[in-house]
């Protein structure tokens, strides 16, 4: 289905529960990944050293070294992207996971197909050299987008809440600024188009996002390029 999968992406699943490991390996293999599993952090290190990985699906709570500290260590030395899969599903837990360097965070029990979709999205973002914004805040036109917290702070310092769709769209724009993005590209970048939940018209999301970014006397942030798509005009800075 994905054009980029010439050789299957290698995913390493780290979870202390055997049934979940086996189930996830099955799910990922069915989706065309090359999946391996590890029961704890030392086994993960060993598997990484022996086989490498393009993506790690990491459980948060494990005996021995837990997922958070492993994630912090891996993110610190520029390891593969990480999706945290955790029994702690609160927004606060998700923010902690994203802030210490996870690329995405899913709470158990999750829809296995959504996990696969997120994995694809993370891999796609990871392959784009310019898009290294995993957990840091980005500034544009006086706004600040905190990726981990999914928060948009406007130039007055007021938090503007974004819906999931708006956040994903804005993140795609911020990661690919000053470039015309077609609807298909946006769908692909922002909504991981194999998930039926997020398969919505891009135009609706763009117009909503525009309304939230609208300020009197401010130049257009998302410009429509007729027949081609949308252009995010500001240049974001870290």
């Amino acid at each position: 289905m994905m054009a980029e999968s010439f050789s299957p992406a290698r995913v390493l699943i780290v979870d202390d529960d055997g049934d979940i490991r086996d189930g996830l390996v099955q799910v990922f293999e069915r989706a065309g990944f090359c999946a391996r599993s590890a029961a704890n952090v030392p086994a993960m290190e060993k598997a990484l050293a022996e086989h490498g990985a393009d993506l790690i699906v990491l459980d948060l709570m494990m005996p021995g070294e837990d997922g958070l500290s492993a994630c912090r260590r891996l993110a610190g030395k520029g390891g593969p992207p990480i999706i945290m899969l955790s029994a702690l599903g609160d927004d606060a837990d998700r923010i902690v996971g994203l802030e210490i360097g996870a690329d995405d965070y899913l709470a158990k029990p999750c829809n296995p197909r959504e996990l696969v979709a997120r994995a694809r999205a993370v891999l796609r973002r990871g392959r784009d050299a310019s898009a290294d914004v995993s957990s840091e805040a980005r500034r544009f036109a006086g706004y600040r987008l905190d990726v981990a917290r999914r928060e948009l702070i406007d130039p007055d310092g007021v938090l503007i809440a974004l819906s999931t769709g708006e956040f994903r769209l804005l993140r795609a724009f911020v990661e690919h600024p000053q470039r015309v993005l077609s609807r298909e590209q946006l769908l692909d970048l922002a909504f991981a188009n194999d998930s039926d939940v997020f398969d919505r018209a891009v135009d609706v999301q763009v117009s909503r996002l525009r309304r939230k970014l609208e300020r009197p006397g401010q130049s257009e942030i998302i410009r429509t390029v007729r027949g081609e798509g949308y252009l995010f005009t500001p240049k974001p800075s870290a």
């Binding site: 529960d17 049934d19 979940i20 189930g23 996830l24 099955q26 799910v27 709570m61 029994a87 702690l88 599903g89 609160d90 927004d91 606060a92 923010i95 709470a107 158990k108 029990p109 999750c110 829809n111 296995p112 917290r149 928060e151 406007d154 007055d156 310092g157 007021v158 938090l159 503007i160 809440a161 974004l162 819906s163 999931t164 769709g165 708006e166 939940v197 997020f198 919505r200 909503r208 939230k212």
Partner: protein
């Protein structure tokens, strides 16, 4: 000073009292030593006689005596003096009678300072200022009031033969100094009344009163009181600061612990009692921190132990036929929602999240949009931009809980936002059966569910109200034409 801060409060108070007493004593002593003493209200006998003689002459001529230092009065009857008119008084009468050329019978004298049998001061040693000798008075009985003949030849003790007014020392302004030592043998009088019968039969009365010029003495008394008061207030201010400062910082520290149990422990300083209290608070804080740690650990364990089997089931469901899978997934979703609400309620700590300024309108819009994405009927309308200060995750949970509740019981959620004075009012309406007036408060109790058939733990609304109240607002059910209407108010 540093080490005595640790004394009990009683010791501090004792110290204060001792210091207050000592400083008041020192002030009074200093004033007594450094400032001149109160001058006596005295007049020399010869001056008294001269003054009266002059006034008598004027009054006899029909004029009013003009010596303002004395008080004059003319009365038709003889003054009712009770003082025996013999002894030194007799001498004075004789002298006056000679001066006025009157019969001593027509002269009456009265002294204020009649206590027991002493009333006259006589200077004994001119070198020692203010050292007066009291002379006994009234050795005789007061039976010879009017015996003028005997008195006439009595020797006057009032004017020493050697008295010479020129010998009185003169001050720089030419005036006699106020406290010049009187020459030896001169009688000094104070508070003296002299009366003599005028030629028309009436009586002229002259009163030599207190030395009213010398108000300086009252000033001195006021200074004593004032200076003592000033020193004592300074002492009281210093002491209360000393005592209050550790109490104030103690209160601040306890307040900080109440808001954030992870804050620095209370400093164990100040009086003994306060140190004890600080130790107790620190012990309590340590217990609180370990309790919170226990709670966090327990919640994480519960979450892990309940969600791991759910995840296993969810993965297993991938291998069953789609019709069955959907049912299993729905059941898993319900159990998961229950687990999530338990954990969210149990870990609910309003103090944990930082408060920021946020656009309530954008928040409600995004909640509605996410619900619409998931295929539910949620609509939002209202103010374009309404900024409140609050906890983003907490408020999101508040509104999500209320919206979820509306969807669960009413199928739809219509959300509106209005500004009402200083408050932001959010209303969430649904098309369900509504909540009867009797049950409107009960649903905010934890674990109360109106219908057993529905899923959920009955924690959504209690949690929502807890969050709203922590923000200074509230969540209530309001009257609606149909369905339920939840009203959320927050300070804007």
């Amino acid at each position: 000073m540093g080490e005595c801060r640790g004394l009990p409060i009683a010791a501090h108070l004792g110290l204060l009292l001792a210091l207050a007493f000592a400083s008041a004593f020192v002030v009074v002593l200093a004033i007594i030593v450094w400032l001149p003493p109160r001058p006596p209200d005295v007049i020399r006998a010869d001056q008294l006689i001269d003054a009266f003689a002059e006034g008598y002459a004027q009054a006899d001529a029909g004029a009013v005596p003009d010596n303002a230092a004395m008080r004059w009065r003319v009365s038709p009857d003889a003054p009712d003096y009770v003082m025996p008119q013999h002894g030194p008084v007799r001498g004075l009468r004789v002298t006056l009678a000679q001066k006025l050329n009157l019969n001593p019978d027509r002269i009456r004298l009265q002294a204020d300072f009649l206590r027991g049998d002493m009333f006259v001061f006589r200077v004994r040693d001119p070198e020692r200022r203010g050292d007066f000798h009291r002379e006994p008075f009234g050795r005789g009985r007061d039976d010879d009031h009017h015996d003028s003949r005997e008195t006439e030849d009595s020797e006057s003790p009032l004017l020493a033969p050697s008295f010479n007014p020129e010998a009185i020392p003169v001050g720089p302004g030419g005036e006699p100094p106020r406290f010049a030592p009187p020459p030896p043998g001169v009688m000094l009088l104070s508070g003296f009344d002299v009366a003599a019968q005028l030629t028309d039969g009436r009586w002229l009365v002259m009163r030599q009163g207190r030395n009213w010029d010398d108000f300086a003495w009252f000033g001195r008394a006021a200074l004593m009181a004032g200076a003592t008061l000033a020193v004592l207030s300074l002492l009281a201010w210093w002491f209360s600061r000393r005592l209050a400062q550790p109490i104030r910082s103690f209160a601040d520290a306890v307040q900080a612990v109440g808001v954030d149990p992870q804050s620095a422990p209370v400093a164990e300083t100040g009086p003994t009692e306060l140190r004890g209290a600080a130790r107790a608070v620190n012990a309590m804080q340590a217990r609180l921190v370990s309790l919170i740690g226990d709670r966090t650990k327990t919640l994480a364990t519960v979450a892990h132990d309940m969600r791991t089997p759910l995840m296993r089931m969810r993965l297993a469901a991938e291998n069953v036929p789609p019709e069955q899978r959907d049912r299993i997934v729905k059941e898993i979703g319900e159990v998961e929602a229950l687990v999530a609400s338990f954990i969210a309620f149990a870990r609910d700590d309003p103090a944990e999240e930082a408060r920021v300024r946020l656009d309530l309108s954008a928040m409600l819009q995004s909640i509605a949009d996410d619900q619409v994405e998931a295929g539910r009927d949620v609509r939002f309308e209202g103010e374009e931009r309404l900024i409140v200060t609050g906890q983003p995750l907490g408020l999101k949970r508040l509104f999500s809980n209320v919206v979820d509740n509306a969807l669960k019981y009413g199928g739809v959620a219509r959300v509106s936002l209005r500004r009402e004075g200083a408050m932001a009012a959010v209303e969430v309406a649904d098309d369900g059966p509504g909540v009867s007036e009797a049950e409107r408060e009960a649903v905010f109790e934890p674990f109360v569910r109106l219908t057993r058939a529905e899923s959920g733990a009955g924690l959504g609304l209690p949690a929502a109200r807890g969050i709203a109240r922590a923000h200074g607002g509230d969540v209530v059910f309001a009257d609606a034409e149909k369905g339920a209407l939840v009203r959320i108010t927050l300070p804007a």
